[in-house]
């Protein structure tokens, strides 16, 4: 197991390095920081622009490979360079990382738990009302992209605040209310009010996917001989379902989680941007518009690390669930 883990980690380190380098090279080729200065009045003299760009390691007159070498040397020292405004990228991203982390973790936990639960329930009572309902709902949910879902949620929340609650219960913008003075519990409630809609928007897609997948896996397991044996030797139905069926059916679903994580990050990007959370995803979209090469590359690096961490976590969970892997 230890050898396997070390080999995996090495593999992943290489993949992250290549992915981040690729992202940097792509961003440095496709984005044009020089155009940021073109629209300014009065027009800054070209020599000043050049000096500024060179100081930020963004000058397109420097050969691409040289810029890349400077950037890579910085990254190896743990420094992702400066943004187009001259602020260090590290500080900005450190602050934003926490925001995204909260959102993604909550979304992933809610989405996968509820999805697995719904799928398992649907499979146990195949063709019952819950099975039909969840199948229909997940089909519908899979057809609604996050950008549309988030907007629909906002519209619904605005309507509900006005007509159902009569006051602002569901808050649709930002992570917390600025300058709110309501004590500790007031703050907690305020944060929760902000958190509900983004979490729903992020997890509905996951719930739909996981419930479909878990249902199919569970159905395969429910017909298996070992489950009949477990029941025949006198295990209660609940115990057999929980300990033998659910656990076995979880194994492929866990592997699937690693695949889903990239999509989850993408969903988090859209959710953050639409709900006005100042996280990494929002910054990614903004920094592409401001031609901020270093920030884009740093976020790509973090995204690659996150995807691989998820896949490592899936491997470990797989080992925890399946004794054959541990051997």
């Amino acid at each position: 197991m230890a050898g396997f883990l070390v080999r995996r980690l090495l593999d992943y380190a290489v993949l992250v390095a290549v992915a981040a380098s690729l992202a940097y090279l792509l961003a440095a080729t496709a984005l044009d920081p020089r155009s940021n200065y073109a629209g300014r009045t009065p027009k800054p003299p070209p020599a000043v622009v050049d000096a500024q760009l060179t100081a930020l390691n963004l000058n397109d007159n420097t050969p691409l490979l040289q810029r890349y070498a400077t950037w890579a040397a910085g990254v190896l020292r743990g420094d992702f360079g400066k943004s187009v405004t001259g602020a260090p990228v590290n500080e900005d991203l450190k602050r934003r990382m926490g925001v995204t982390f909260r959102l993604v973790v909550l979304g992933a936990v809610c989405g996968s738990l509820l999805g697995v639960l719904a799928g398992a329930l649907a499979a146990v009572r195949q063709y019952g009302w819950f099975d039909r309902l969840s199948t229909g709902l997940s089909f519908a949910a899979l057809a609604v992209p996050v950008v549309v879902l988030a907007n629909i949620l906002i519209l619904l929340a605005v309507w509900a605040n006005e007509h159902v609650f009569g006051r602002q219960v569901l808050l649709v913008s930002g992570e917390y209310s600025d300058g709110l003075d309501a004590g500790f519990w007031g703050q907690v409630v305020d944060r929760l009010q902000h958190l509900i809609l983004p979490t729903i928007s992020l997890s509905i897609g996951l719930i739909a996917v996981f419930s479909r997948y878990q249902r199919n896996m569970m159905l395969d397991v429910l017909g298996a001989d070992f489950l009949r044996t477990a029941l025949a030797k006198g295990l209660s139905r609940r115990k057999a379902l929980l300990k033998h069926a659910l656990r076995t059916a979880l194994i492929p679903v866990v592997t699937y989680f690693a695949f889903m994580f990239g999509a989850l990050l993408m969903g988090a990007t859209f959710t953050e941007k639409i709900f006005g959370w100042h996280g990494l995803g929002e910054q990614l979209i903004n920094s592409i518009f401001t031609n901020d090469v270093n920030t884009v590359a740093a976020i790509s690096f973090l995204a690659a690390v996150a995807v691989l961490c998820a896949s490592l976590a899936a491997d470990l969970l797989h080992a925890a669930l399946d004794p054959r892997v541990r051997a």
Partner: protein, 301 residues
């Protein structure tokens, strides 16, 4: 002259052999017998009809501006209402739908073709080919597709360069399918008919294209269908943030982005296009699911 038993039987039945039903016909029959297949196919056909024939019955085109009607609700002259600029929402929506459907279909075709070729080569040749191709597949899985497409968006930003966008979109949809194809190709290469072809001296590339890929056609057809919906959804998200189809061209994504800003007081600018998008994707998914059942001989009737 002696006749073997078979020849005798053939003679007795007037030389008419019972014909095996064609596979395409069996699958089509199963597909159209399922409720999902019927509904999905009908809705999808309707959507295509609406997108490509619908504009003919409208007196506004998507570039027209009606300066007597700004942000008007649906009426007899503007079926879906108008935008703040006076543009006709019906005309815009159908135009966006055309673009989204075409982009989705093309991207799905290209990405499935890519998945088939990469997966089949990796699975059939094994060794170094496999290692290199699998590594590239993993690399693309690690890089979130949205990120790369968004970074590259300035490159395909100009008007009329959407084919490039289609290709880029396709480049990030093929990885999971190609992994499945690879797994199936590994087991296919040990089958007798492939071995026979190999021993008869058929060149390996020809074996892949003539024997391996055609034998995975059912998987590929189903996957291409499901990729259409994935491509439409990705296109919508990218265009929503301004990274995909660029103005003056419109697509579902750009329309939803514009509509969502005015949706609270002018719901017609958002709900028609969002509804059509959801119905289209739903229909594609239903067709894909029904096709999968139709191709699967073990599926429950």
């Amino acid at each position: 002259m002696t006749l073997s038993e078979e020849e005798l039987a053939e003679e007795l039945s007037d030389g008419v052999m019972p014909k095996a039903p064609s596979r395409a016909r069996v699958v089509a029959g199963r597909f159209f017998r399922s409720r999902q297949g019927q509904v999905g196919f009908a809705v999808l056909a309707l959507m295509f009809l609406l997108a490509f024939v619908g504009p003919l019955f409208n007196r506004w085109t998507y570039t027209d501006k009606d300066f007597t009607a700004f942000l008007q609700p649906p009426s007899s002259s503007h079926w879906f209402g108008t935008l703040q600029t006076g543009a006709d929402v019906y005309a815009l929506t159908l135009r966006g739908m055309q673009k989204s459907l075409v982009v989705g279909l093309l991207a799905a075709l290209v990405s499935t073709a890519l998945a088939a070729v990469v997966g089949a080569f990796a699975g059939y040749f094994r060794g170094w080919t496999d290692r290199v191709l699998s590594w590239v597949t993993n690399l693309l899985l690690v890089l979130p597709a949205f990120l790369i497409l968004a970074i590259m968006s300035p490159l395909f930003g100009g008007a009329g360069r959407w084919p490039l966008f289609v290709i880029m979109l396709a480049l990030f949809l093929w990885m999971v399918t190609s992994k499945i194809v690879r797994g199936m190709a590994i087991s296919l290469r040990e089958r007798e008919f492939i071995q026979a072809a190999r021993y008869m001296g058929v060149p390996p590339a020809r074996i892949v294209f003539r024997h391996v890929i055609p034998n995975l056609s059912s998987l590929l057809i189903v996957d291409a269908t499901l990729n259409v919906s994935a491509a439409i959804l990705t296109e919508t998200s990218l265009s929503y943030f301004g990274f995909g189809i660029q103005p003056p061209d419109v697509s579902f994504g750009t329309l939803i982005a514009d509509g969502s800003k005015t949706a609270t007081y002018a719901p017609w600018t958002f709900w028609f296009v969002a509804g059509l998008l959801v119905v289209t994707v739903l229909a594609v998914n239903l067709v894909g699911d029904a096709l999968r059942d139709a191709f699967d001989p073990a599926a429950r009737r």
